[in-house]
């Protein structure tokens, strides 16, 4: 007998067949309840196959998935799938495989193979038998027998895309609810009813700052930050600027506005012009006082710092969205002794404004300030709507925490399902 590898393999195969039933000390199970479904809430590019998880104790090693297309031949599409990695996160007794390489417009059916490997321990008696000995030998050479147990074939399915993501329903409802609250409040405010806004410390200082600039015959510098025209802070800042401009027009104080965003520049020019027109001083408006510096963050800060040192404005307004350049400008403004009124919703920069400026509008206070100064029903109304939103958040937190103490977790589940 020639003892080479080929012969050995032939022998091994033979042995494998012989000891097939012996090899698997625990009963191998076929995957049951295999179902293929179009994956819900996707763009129609995948099919999800689910089946009952085969318990680890059965000795399962991996799964192999086979698929056919339009009732054709079954072909292997994935193998060596680790059973632990495909457990459904919510229901661990369900295994889930998502096939993302489907053929568009064709229907697919699936078969799942459970794969077992013979590495069960042997007791001493078993080793003494011929088969046991051979198996032992095979294992010593690293040969392990694999056994595929196929499931039933699933029904054929086609993948389609959905027009609405049902998982996002709570988010959608929350959006509708909040939108209607805002719109309803704006509508009410417009109908002429007074809306109360609490006093905002720092806003009194606006008059003081403008007055001082007028007395000293120096200019006012208004910085709108780095935000674009769609940024809330920038829009709030522009509204405040409109109000400041009305007063500077009255007092004939020069108002300098270096801009960072060209679109903002354009809008601000229009707004300030309108303010000057409204108080009847179109002659005092000078378009060159509102100008573009650069879009680069630090180049902009360098430019503003230079202006502060050279022109020595009596008051500096820093309102809008800021990044790291906030402190560069606020400290330079402080060093020239200007009254500084800051306001931003960038929470990272607030500490520096608080440290370096005389008055700081914190976060949402900036939005409230624009409503407070302009008294515009639209802004007042939506501020009220935002307060409703806060009440709902309060309710969610209080209920969520207290119910959780009693083991009821609806609120937390709802919140988690959305986020």
């Amino acid at each position: 007998m020639i003892y080479n590898k080929t012969n050995f393999c032939v022998l091994a195969c033979l042995v494998l067949f012989l000891c097939g039933t012996y090899a698997f000390s625990q009963e191998p199970v076929a995957p049951s309840n295999v179902v293929a479904k179009d994956t819900p809430n996707d763009d129609g590019t995948s099919i999800t196959v689910t089946w009952d998880t085969i318990p680890e104790e059965s000795g399962i090693v991996s799964y192999t998935i086979l698929r056919n297309t339009d009732a054709g031949e079954f072909k292997e599409i994935a193998d060596k799938i680790n059973p632990k990695e495909i457990l459904d996160k919510k229901k661990p007794n369900l295994s889930k495989y998502k096939d993302t390489k489907i053929v568009k417009g064709k229907s697919h059916a699936y078969i799942v193979h459970a794969v077992y490997i013979d590495d069960a321990p042997m007791d001493s008696e078993e080793i003494l038998t011929l088969i046991g000995f051979l198996r032992r030998l095979l294992r010593m050479f690293g040969y392990k027998s694999e056994m595929h147990i196929p499931s039933e074939q699933t029904a054929a399915v086609k993948a389609t895309g959905q027009w609405f993501h049902t998982g996002k329903t709570p988010l959608f409802l929350a959006m509708l609810l909040f939108s209607s609250a805002i719109v309803w409040n704006i509508y009410h405010a417009r109908s002429g009813r007074e809306v109360f806004i609490r006093r905002i410390p720092g806003l009194e200082a606006v008059e003081e700052a403008i007055g001082r600039a007028t007395e000293m015959g120096r200019s006012i510098l208004y910085v709108l930050g780095l935000g674009g025209v769609d940024n809330v802070a920038t829009i709030a800042s522009m509204t405040i600027l409109g109000q400041v401009a009305r007063r500077t027009a009255d007092y004939e104080t020069s108002l300098r506005v270096p801009c960072n965003d060209p679109i903002v520049l354009n809008v601000v020019r229009e707004m300030v012009k309108t303010s000057y027109l409204d108080v009847g001083r179109p002659d005092a408006y000078n378009e060159d006082d509102i100008f573009f510096l650069t879009t680069d963050q630090f180049a902009y800060a360098a430019g503003v710092d230079g202006m502060m040192i050279r022109e020595k404005p009596a008051a500096v307004f820093l309102q809008g969205q800021f990044y790291a350049e906030s402190l560069l400008m606020a400290e330079t403004g402080n060093s020239i002794g200007a009254i500084q009124i800051a306001g931003t919703d960038s929470e990272h920069q607030l500490p520096f404004f608080i440290a370096a400026c005389d008055y700081t509008l914190i976060g949402e206070e900036l939005y409230a300030a624009s409503a407070y100064l302009s008294k515009e029903p639209m802004l007042l109304g939506s501020l009220k709507g935002q307060d409703w939103g806060k009440l709902l958040i309060f309710a969610a937190i209080i209920l969520g925490v207290s119910l959780e103490f009693f083991g009821i977790n609806w609120i937390t589940t709802l919140l988690r399902s959305v986020s």
Partner: protein, 252 residues
């Protein structure tokens, strides 16, 4: 035309962006991707405005000889050099006219942001200035701390003390000092040592810093974020519905 059409466009694009985020269908995905590309195509053109206004500002400075008008030339020089280098390329028809060794040499010069001169300017002019401007913050943060951190009122004191503790926790000296102090204090052993013999109170400075960041800091930030986000959403709603029109500027 002047007001209604922009408002309608704003509404259309806003609703398209909202809807496509709730719909996983392939068509709405396609619309979403296309809308994003439109946004990406349109926004660079906004730079036109920037450049035009920059040129206007500085030409008028030069023309009226305002203070330091000479420096406006430097702005122009910087801009023109950078653009000329970055957009430099030789059209194919010119390449064909030139002698072969010149044309191959020219063709090898990478165009755009990879152009060696552009890279050199970026590395040795823009980046150093950017980094230096950023590093000025180290000086300013120190002077702001010295001036502002005075225990004037209760709130200021809280700010000051927290900042001090966090700073101490950030440097190794903080823990060194802490551990020394703990070893000096006549504390009962059961307080200081855990069952496995390790110290319970070691590295208190960095622990305290971490707790401050994790608990009160998280709470305060969350409060600000929640408030600000409500503001962002409500403004976005106003914009899409055409209630907020300030971005159109004044006039008709």
């Amino acid at each position: 035309m002047k007001r209604q059409v922009p408002l309608a466009l704003c509404f259309l694009f806003g609703v398209a962006m909202i809807y496509t985020q709730f719909s996983p269908h392939q068509y709405s995905e396609a619309v979403y991707n296309e809308v994003i590309k439109w946004g990406l195509i349109i926004s660079p053109f906004a730079l036109v405005l920037a450049v035009v206004t920059l040129i206007q500002t500085h030409t008028s400075r030069i023309r009226f000889r305002s203070e330091h008008w000479q420096y406006s030339f430097i702005v122009f020089i910087g801009m023109i050099v950078m653009v000329a280098v970055g957009l430099f390329f030789v059209p194919n028809w010119l390449l064909n006219l030139l002698p072969e060794n010149v044309s191959t040499a020219l063709a090898d010069v990478q165009i755009g942001p990879q152009n060696p001169v552009f890279v050199w300017l970026y590395d040795n002019v823009q980046v150093p200035m950017d980094a230096t401007m950023f590093s000025l913050l180290a000086f300013f943060i120190a002077s702001a701390a010295f001036r502002a951190f005075r225990a004037r009122a209760f709130e200021a004191t809280l700010l000051l003390i927290t900042a001090m503790f966090v700073m101490l926790g950030n440097i190794p000296v903080g823990d060194l000092v802490w551990n020394k102090v703990i070893s000096w204090l006549p504390l009962p052993e059961s307080w200081v040592l855990l069952e496995d013999g390790t110290s319970r109170m070691e590295d208190g400075a960095s622990w305290l810093r971490q707790e401050i960041l994790d608990v009160p800091n998280t709470a305060a930030r969350r409060g600000i974020i929640l408030g600000v986000s409500l503001g962002v959403i409500s403004q976005s709603i106003r914009i899409i519905l055409g209630i907020e029109r300030s971005y159109l500027g004044g006039g008709d």
